[in-house]
């Protein structure tokens, strides 16, 4: 790992109120890489992502993005620096239409031209969204909502995308499409930190990965090393 780190977490301790969920975690994402966080449910993967965008209580450690210390930045400033976030559970704005959701996603874009380009790109990735563009997002199907959430997180032209379980509850064909999409946007230069239940898909597209257990990192390595590791197999085949 001689490349430049884009995002670095150093011994981060964080949680909600008095409860600690993330225990002394160190993670790095290099420019241009896809990095996966593995682990069974409830080990703190989502909280780790939310810690990066300042939505948990961070107690110790530091987070650096492009050599800027963002540890105590508010969420919106972190977004301004180019970190996009796509939460699990289809957190779309149900009161807005599909297109308005994408407009909300493009909040930080200054030029209309860029907005148009990004909108066209999302529509070409997920053509169904174009058909539904004037529909209230609450009325979209689960899969469409997931596509909308991913599409929305791409609208701001993030440098680093934090993706939480993009394939959760989706049909296999869609999972494939999302995997393909992620590889595509990665090729365009977007680094990705990914949480994924579908470990097979995740490790196929990742460069590097971390395995979490009870809020800590217990294993890290390249995707190839992780696929071969028994502990990874155990998490995805044995416990859940």
């Amino acid at each position: 790992m001689s490349k430049n780190p884009l995002l670095k977490l150093n011994n981060v301790l964080a949680g909600y109120g008095k409860m600690n969920v993330v225990n002394n975690i160190s993670i790095r994402v290099n420019q241009g890489e896809i990095v996966t966080l593995l682990g069974s449910n409830g080990v703190g993967k989502t909280s780790t992502l939310r810690t990066i965008i300042a939505q948990t209580d961070l107690k110790k450690g530091e987070i650096k993005y492009k050599d800027i210390n963002i540890t105590h930045f508010p969420t919106y400033k972190i977004a301004e620096l180019g970190i996009g976030y796509c939460p699990e559970g289809r957190a779309i704005f149900g009161n807005l239409t599909t297109k308005e959701n994408l407009q909300a996603g493009a909040y930080l874009l200054k030029s209309r031209q860029k907005f148009k380009e990004n909108l066209d790109r999302v529509y070409s990735l997920f053509p169904i969204l174009k058909e539904r563009s004037n529909q209230i997002a609450e009325l979209l199907s689960g899969g469409e909502q997931e596509m909308l959430a991913i599409g929305r997180s791409l609208m701001n032209n993030p440098n680093l995308l934090l993706l939480d379980e993009p394939s959760l509850g989706l049909a296999p064909k869609l999972v494939e499409l999302i995997g393909k999409t992620l590889r595509e946007i990665n090729k365009e230069g977007v680094s990705i930190l990914l949480i994924e239940q579908n470990a097979k898909m995740a490790l196929e597209i990742s460069n590097y990965g971390y395995l979490m257990r009870k809020g800590s990192i217990v294993l890290e390595g390249t995707a190839k090393e992780l696929v071969a590791d028994d502990r990874v197999k155990e998490v995805y085949l044995g416990i859940i």
Binding site: Q55, Y76, A79, F93, G94, N95, Q103, A104, Y107, N156
Partner: protein
Amino acid sequence: MNYLLQQIINSLGFGSIVALLAAGYTMTFGLIGLVNFAHGEVFMAGAFTAYFILTILKLPFWLAILMGLVGSIIIGLLVERLAFKPVRGSGMITLFIIGLGVSQILRNSTVMLFDARLKGFTISSFLKGVYMLGEVMIFKKTLFIFLPVLAICIILVYLIKNTKLGIAMRSLSYDTQMAQSLGMNTERVIIITFIISSALAGFAAVSWGYIYGSVHAGMGVYAVVNAFVASVIGGVGNVLGAIIAGYIIAIGGNLFIAFLPPDLVGLRPLFVWIIFFIILIFKPSGLFRANIK
């Protein structure tokens, strides 16, 4: 028929005031779930500022409008920063009680400083007089508020529907954390919303002055109750709905007493509550779909 039409036209002045207050009310409610009972005093602050400019300092009318807006915006922002911001994120009941407290403090301080009597409001000569439409009279002063409100209504609807700010308002009201992670600065949007809603109250306040010819410390109470009910009827968070409902309440209230025997005129305030309960029983989400929220 003419009598009915005349009653409706007479209600447009008060209706516009209620509509402006309800629109501002519904925006802060939709955005941060704030039942802002101090909004009536933000309104009153604008009226007093305009009163000082016009009656005491004898300055021109346009300056009174401008300073009325400024007065309301300053008080509105102060209330937001000092009273509501420290408790951001707490429940609706907390916000409700704080709003009520701030309202009492502001109103009674005004009574202490300027007493509770009616303050005569100098009315510029161009606002006096009537236009005749057949046998129906239209007061110039009524037109001077009704037409701007139509324009304001169009601007607000456009703002909320089509601009970045409007989309940010609606996103934030639905899911604050998600909206922040897209780069939206909650505090900034809240401040802008308060500025808009206070400015609407300020314009309503100056209009109150030249429509009724006087202002007083308690003027916010009756107006804000009507505005609150209008925002509920209009579907909380729906600006257009609140404006339409403001007119419905004002016109309804006027017709209610217009067709009652004269000795029942005192029942006028009852009307708004009757409507309120009918709506709460049969259509608690309001007549129109909420868009902020």
